[in-house]
């Protein structure tokens, strides 16, 4: 069975300009020649849903030499100045080939906020370090009592002289255990609307008083953490913009985060893995890929993925022409996260009982294991984080219905 989506890897006519097509070829060739095979192998085996820092570091350095490490950024900050469609093509080719995703917290989140609202010193100091991954960032927004209702956050920061003193707790912090810096929303005032008392701070994780505790997720892995702050002193120059305006900056960032949610390259790579699983797993004496019910599910999934991929592209074309819609961000986030889950679910169905042994150290009797069950568990996160899908639907409904 041929992958219908394969034809979308740039070969279908009428979707891309000749320049874009040439750009795709260029990226593809570069990745083929430069991506270390062991790095690609780790991601394609499914063993690491969040890539190792060391792998990201290696790939970042390789891209840096080519001027692509800050691929989402404009030229003035050291990026290549890609158009939205070029960026989409770039991510597509990298992910399909098994390149690790670059750390989004620096490149796609705090970086753009610093560019827009940061001081000259912050821009000069932080941005180049994000590019080379000298600073690995994480995001300190959520708290135990403040998830969807983020504006209710309670971590306190009190200005004493030239420093803020921070006390409180963040939770579900992705990669805090690997990170050097954390950007945090903190409460500097309890007066007026909760949104108005929030400030955006950049905090060095080596500062005394910070404790990071692992949270193991249901797939048995460690990617999120609790981050505790006790009398943590933060120099006032590490505040972004004005005190009390953090919510505005955070909203800008959240929009950025959601528009960047595409993840289509990741989906295509996982689809390729799904095909391999279905070709190599036997069910009732037949290859799973030859099972009519499975094929129906696979065909439906591929039609859906192609549709989402093309809708993503359509939104980018419209945005590039200045026709942004408030619907684009929530719709993309919802579609993409649900697709990631659907693929992982079908992977699990394809492997069936072969997927049941948990993180086998010796997978001899169980090859290829592919971590389909672990990853199915892990992928449940995608409809929860980055603004849960329920919250996205609320945003969309507000836009549509008032």
């Amino acid at each position: 069975m041929k992958m219908t989506i394969g034809t979308l890897g740039g070969t279908m006519k009428g979707l891309f300009t000749p320049e874009e097509q040439a750009f795709r070829e260029e990226v593809r060739a570069f990745v083929r020649e430069n991506l270390p095979p062991d790095v690609a192998e780790r991601l394609k085996s499914g063993s690491h849903p969040v890539p190792l820092r060391s792998d990201v570091q290696r790939w970042t350095e390789i891209l840096h030499k080519r001027g692509w490490a800050a691929y989402p950024w404009p030229k003035e900050y050291g990026g290549p100045g890609f158009t939205p469609v070029e960026r989409y093509i770039f991510e597509d080719e990298c992910a399909m080939a098994g390149a690790p995703e670059l750390v989004p917290f620096g490149l796609k989140m705090v970086g753009p906020v610093i560019m827009k609202y940061g001081s000259d010193h912050q821009k000069a100091y932080f941005l180049p370090r994000i590019v080379r991954l000298e600073h690995f960032w994480c995001q300190g927004y959520s708290e135990p009592g403040s998830g969807s209702d983020l504006a209710s956050l309670r971590t306190r920061a009190v200005l004493k002289g030239d420093r803020y003193v921070v006390d409180g707790q963040k939770v579900w912090t992705t990669s805090a255990h690997e990170a050097d810096w954390i950007f945090c929303l903190v409460r500097t005032s309890t007066e007026g609307k909760p949104q108005n008392g929030i400030t955006f701070l950049l905090i060095d994780l080596r500062t005394p008083g910070i404790t990071i505790r692992p949270i193991i997720t249901i797939d048995g892995r460690h990617e999120i953490n609790e981050v505790w702050f006790e009398n943590v002193e933060v120099p006032v120059e590490n505040r972004v913009g004005e005190e009390g305006k953090g919510w505005t900056y955070a909203k800008y960032l959240l929009e950025h985060e959601r528009l960047n949610f595409g993840g289509m390259g990741f989906c295509k790579r996982e689809l390729a893995r799904l095909h391999e699983m279905a070709r190599t797993t036997m069910r009732g004496g037949k290859r799973v890929i030859d099972d009519p019910l499975f094929r129906t599910r696979l065909a439906a999934l591929e039609a859906e993925l192609a549709t989402i991929d093309l809708t993503n592209l359509r939104f980018l074309r419209e945005a590039q022409a200045g026709r942004q819609s408030a619907l684009h961000a929530p719709v993309l986030k919802i579609m993409s996260s649900e697709m990631q889950q659907a693929i992982s679910e079908l992977q699990l169905r394809a492997l069936g009982t072969t997927a049941l042994p948990f993180m086998p150290s010796d997978a001899a009797t169980n090859r290829p294991h592919q971590y389909a069950a672990e990853n199915y568990c892990n992928m449940r996160k995608t409809t929860i984080y980055a603004g849960s899908n329920e919250i996205q639907r609320n945003i969309a409904a507000k836009g549509l219905l008032g």
Partner: protein, 371 residues
């Protein structure tokens, strides 16, 4: 006091409330509180024995009551409490199958008795390379030998394989006939490679090459072996349907409680209509699963092989479909805390994941229902 249901002539009707079984279920639920995650052999087995859970599953002439129906109740209650144990595969499946073998064999009689009084535990090797159980056409072969047989077998992730005292191994003869071999763990330890499944079930791969067996180690061949294997597949699938219902009930209850207590935007999550409706849909899916799990249990003892297979497969289709959806929705409505391994929620989520795959996903059951 023993909650063991009194011996009666007939098993209760499927949906007919039965006081004796309700008492059994209530006492069981009370007496296993806090036993999840503990060693089943020392912590759980004595309690189950005391309550008569094993004896109830024996044939009626030995004082049993309710058969697969009683087994389903126990499986549901155990799973709802988050307990992973060999009750479904040993007491509800293998023990009851062995009791059906009508043969004057003193050792077999002793084994059956030891399973019925909980002194021993047995399992069956369902899987080989294939993602679905390999029961009637396994690749494991049994070859005649002077004075007995030689068994060459590759079995994958046998539930409680390294813990059960006895293991049934589906085999084929060189001529292609079906058979069931009996392996004693004490003698086969070296051939077992343990692993843990995603839901915490301990399992083991079995690898035997020309392993010598005596005449009496082959429990059944030909038509009798076929009949027993098919019965065990249905009995185990029905028991797993009951376990799924128990795990779903736990998730639905936990979710109801969480929606009522977790506050965001100044109100409990349960104030959001979007979540209220989805919660009701979870209850509806669970209601369907409860119905069909009960029907599956009834079919295990009452129906002939063909009808039984169709009914159990149909039930499993409904239960499995519900299990995917209910577990996904429960996790989603918990938000990030649902992703944390520390909470019971994740354990139930993974339990349902595993239960939904032993006999294939719901497509496999749909296929079987129409075959």
């Amino acid at each position: 006091m023993s909650a063991r249901p009194e011996a009666q002539a007939a098993a209760p009707l499927a949906f007919q409330p039965d006081e004796s079984l309700e008492t059994f279920s209530d006492m069981l639920a009370r007496s296993i509180v806090g036993k999840a995650g503990k060693d089943w052999r020392t912590e759980l087995w004595p309690t189950l024995a005391e309550l008569g859970a094993f004896a109830a599953l024996a044939p009626e002439e030995r004082g049993g009551y309710g058969g697969a129906h009683t087994a389903a109740i126990a499986c549901r209650v155990l799973a709802q409490a988050g307990i992973v144990s060999p009750f479904a595969i040993s007491a509800a499946t293998v023990a009851r199958a062995l009791a059906q073998i009508d043969r004057a064999d003193e050792r077999l009689g002793t084994i059956v008795r030891s399973l019925e009084d909980s002194a021993a535990v047995a399992t069956i090797a369902l899987h080989e390379e294939d993602a679905l159980p390999s029961l009637l056409d396994p690749k494991s072969v049994l070859v005649r030998d002077a004075g007995g047989y030689r068994l060459t077998a590759r079995k994958r992730m046998v539930a409680f394989g390294a813990e059960a005292d006895w293991m049934l191994v589906p085999v084929r003869s060189a001529a292609g006939g079906t058979g069931i071999a009996l392996i004693e763990r004490a003698k086969a330890m070296g051939a077992l490679k343990p692993c843990t499944l995603i839901d915490g079930t301990p399992a083991a791969d079995l690898e035997l090459t020309e392993y010598p067996l005596r005449e009496a180690d082959v429990l059944a061949t030909g038509e009798e072996a076929r009949r027993l294997l098919l019965w065990m597949a249905d009995a185990f699938a029905a028991a797993q349907c009951a376990e799924s219902v128990g795990a779903m009930r736990a998730l639905v209850n936990t979710t109801a409680e969480y929606l009522g207590t977790r506050k965001q935007f100044g109100q409990p999550l349960s104030a959001n209509q979007a979540l209220r409706h989805r919660f009701v849909d979870m209850e509806i899916m669970l209601a369907k699963a409860e119905t069909m799990a009960t029907v599956a249990a009834a079919a295990v003892d009452a129906e002939d092989a063909d009808d039984r297979r169709r009914i159990v497969a149909t039930a499993r289709y409904i239960v499995t479909r519900s299990a995917w959806k209910v577990s996904q929705e429960a996790l989603q409505m918990h938000g990030a805390i649902g992703m944390a391994n520390e909470t019971p929620l994740g354990r139930y989520f993974k339990r349902l994941l595993a239960l939904s795959l032993w006999f294939g996903d719901e497509d496999a059951s749909l296929n079987a229902a129409f075959a």
